[in-house]
Symmetry: C2
Subunit: 151 residues, 2 copies
């Protein structure tokens, strides 16, 4: 069922079932394209880095969490995109074979002043690895369709 602006309440918390496995191949593929720093590409360089071992680009971890967010939480009928992200933090490295899951909390909502059919929903997303260590968090400024623009 489509989730409209009216269908979420501030304070709600969603623990989502999806998992995203970050493989070594995908780590190097993403890094070669978008973040070719040695600690994302080369095991030896990574061992000498503060990560201690080959680690995913932070943008790759974010993208994997976005995939889970789209699959598990956003709705094709009602999502209108996002204006931005606040307080993105990479809290632990993500290593080959790590399996990521996310939790989503509704932290604020308000109707748009300029677009009657739209509402702003602020969500805090937290990503965890298979050991329940938090690896990433952010607060997204999302835009969502309203069911009753005139209400």
């Amino acid at each position: 069922m489509a989730r409209y602006f009216e269908d979420v309440e501030v304070g709600e918390m969603y623990e989502l079932d999806g998992r995203y496995e970050i493989t070594e191949d995908e780590i190097t593929e993403f890094a070669e394209k978008y973040d070719p720093q040695p600690f994302h590409l080369d095991q030896e360089a990574a061992e000498e880095s503060i990560f201690g071992s080959l680690a995913a680009s932070g943008w790759h971890t974010a993208s994997a969490c976005m995939r889970l967010f789209v699959d598990e939480f956003l709705d094709a009928e009602t999502s209108m995109g996002a204006r931005g992200i606040d307080n993105l933090r990479w809290k632990q490295p993500v290593y080959p074979g790590d399996e990521i899951r996310i939790e989503v909390e509704i932290v604020d909502k308000r109707p748009s002043e300029s677009r009657p059919g739209m509402g702003h929903i602020k969500t805090r997303l937290r990503g965890y690895n298979q050991d329940d260590e938090e690896v990433i968090e952010w607060t997204a400024l999302g835009m969502t369709r309203r069911r009753n623009p005139d209400a």
Copy 2:
């Protein structure tokens, strides 16, 4: 020449030469993998969206800017990664064929308290399209090697 913590000053601004063209193929490839929302995948759905036409995932735009940042500004010898990103904003949609460039401003720096060989450098990155419209901005909390840890 490697750029160490000591080699940048707060207030410096770098207009970088690199360009990243965002093609339609890459928009759909990235979106299929990481952000499969209709307005990133389907021209018709995108026309009905607030973007008005097929648009890149915001995470894709960020990743393209990261590539420019790595190629044009970061240094393999001295970059130690980043703790996070503040105030990421997607200011304009990025469309197929758009050519992105970036500017980088040093907004803060301080030695690490816990790691003598490291310093924190806060950089504001702004991405522009070929019409000089700002499409993205963020503030990165980067970590950089110090040349003189004991200075």
